[in-house]
Symmetry: C2
Subunit: 145 residues, 2 copies
């Protein structure tokens, strides 16, 4: 018995109320092909329990979905011929998370496919050291996950 | 004593041969600010042992770096005011991995910053079902990580 959310498309997929292309399943995790793949074979590894994101899940449950991603990735590379992959979790709408049920993207990548682009910035002198100190201070007063 | 690679910039940072802005450290993991951040506070969580990527590391070691990312993320959000974050691992040069020493990117994200863009595709009818079957078959003959 897993916690579910009535309005969650992933909970409906897990409950077989919506069809999907399943690549892996065990008691805790379902892995399916993304219907709007960045590249063919783009897979979503989803805990069956309805949790929102990495801030809503125990380290043990996070470890479980990551370990499944580790098992799936070699098969994705073999089948798609991709030499590389991204393993990404979006946490919150501003990060690109569309379904508010934790999922790990495993995305086969090919040389120069240019499909995920990162725009890098630069710190002013001293800016990063000051920022690091504020992060350390914030962590010191936070409860452990 | 950790495995190191003579030519690895992260091993040199871990050994304090190159300076960095450290936000977290324990026996197994170092977390630093990325010097070319996608957004301020962009953090790299790095296992001290020199391993290449998710395919080169035990589930236990992967779980450790992810658990540190889970601990750091709330502090990053608090300090930067970001409501969301990406947690991403690039595996192989074609995925955007630049330093061949496993690292988890924890990237604060703001609404409409548009800093990471994903170009989504679409499967032809039947294509995804056939692909899923091939992935399942490939997993069936692979050794467990």
């Amino acid at each position: 018995m897993h916690n579910t959310s009535m309005d969650c498309i992933f909970c409906k997929i897990i409950a077989r109320k919506i069809p999907s292309d399943i690549v892996y399943e065990d008691d805790d995790v379902l892995a399916i092909l993304d219907i709007a793949p960045i590249n063919p074979g783009h897979t979503l590894v989803i805990p069956k329990r309805h949790v929102r994101d990495l801030l809503d899940v125990s380290p043990e449950a996070a470890a479980k979905v990551i370990s499944v991603a580790q098992r799936i990735a070699p098969a994705l590379l073999k089948v798609t011929g991709a030499p590389a992959f991204n393993c990404s979790i979006n946490n919150g709408p501003a990060s690109g998370q569309v379904v508010m049920h934790l999922h790990v993207h495993v995305i086969p990548r090919h040389p120069s496919d240019g499909l995920i682009s990162w725009v890098h910035g630069k710190y002013e002198p001293g800016e990063s050291a000051a920022l690091a100190q504020r992060i350390v201070a914030a962590m010191a007063v936070m409860p452990k996950v």
